[in-house]
Symmetry: C2
Subunit: 145 residues, 2 copies
DNA sequence: TATTGTTATACTCTATAACTATA
DNA sequence: TATAGTTATAGAGTATAACAATA
């Protein structure tokens, strides 16, 4: 995709285009960084919730991430198969599954989180540190309300 | 989704989360703004190419947008059904379809583009004008190379 | 009756493979 | 043989509906 005729500029200046492709590029970068740990960006999101919250149910994880509870099932199935998380019926309410990181999962999470942070830095490397910080601030402001 | 426990901060500070949700919010905004014209953001992208390039083939539009040529078929079918574009076999190479905006389509495009620009402004309204400009610049910088 | 996890199913989006017609 | 458009099909991703177990 080299320098095309006239539509390039208009097309590539549109905020929709910029946001979409920033996302694509970022996702490609982080998924590559996380691949050695056998997880992707979505998995890492779930692990973050588990790492920062005490014993949680599947439903709570799903709601925190804003995905349907049926979507959590397959995601956690895969993480469980890899020995990263563990599911147990909650003794206090046996409808619930208590989801936790395993020992191995906790170590994998720490390493994956470090790799993710490194990928963030790589992504922002074209901006000065202050421009990078401002970019992140702008995103947070845009998502408020 | 109110103020949750601890994972909120970490989760919602991650660049991946911010970029994804900025995209979702922006897409919702622009799709709503474009709905009165019977098109969405993807359609507008195609119309932009047609509006800024002279008689073009389907394949050229697809390649400019970075989508598969099979994907263009249904997209253009819908726009043709709405009377927004017209397809004619290229007399010089009858394998090609020359795709053009109709009169009505050209008017619809102008109005839709204006609505889109308005939606961009709305999206960026939480930032100062200079912060908005810098945000867009940062996105373009991040997509270079 | 309501809720949690699960399964079956459907829907959207987009790509690959194969077909038609042109070249 | 190769290319443009089309159609059929398949895969990823995620949602809704229905069911089992539990409250």
């Amino acid at each position: 995709m080299s320098t095309e005729a006239s539509p390039g500029p208009d097309l590539h200046r549109a905020l929709g285009y910029l946001l979409k492709h920033a996302n694509l590029k970022f996702t490609a970068l982080t998924d590559a960084a996380l691949a050695p740990f056998g997880i992707d960006g979505k998995d890492l999101g779930a692990l973050r919730v588990l790492a920062h919250r005490d014993p949680t149910s599947q439903l709570q994880v799903a709601q925190t991430l804003g995905v349907d509870r049926t979507t959590m099932v397959a995601l956690l199935d895969a993480l469980e198969d890899k020995g990263i998380i563990r599911r147990q019926p909650d003794p206090a309410d046996r409808r619930r599954n208590v989801v936790e990181l395993t020992e191995q999962g906790s170590e994998a999470y720490d390493a994956a989180e470090a790799a993710y942070q490194e990928a963030e830095k790589t992504f922002l490397a074209a901006l000065s540190p202050s421009a990078g910080a401002q970019f992140r601030r702008a995103l947070r402001t845009l998502l408020e309300d």
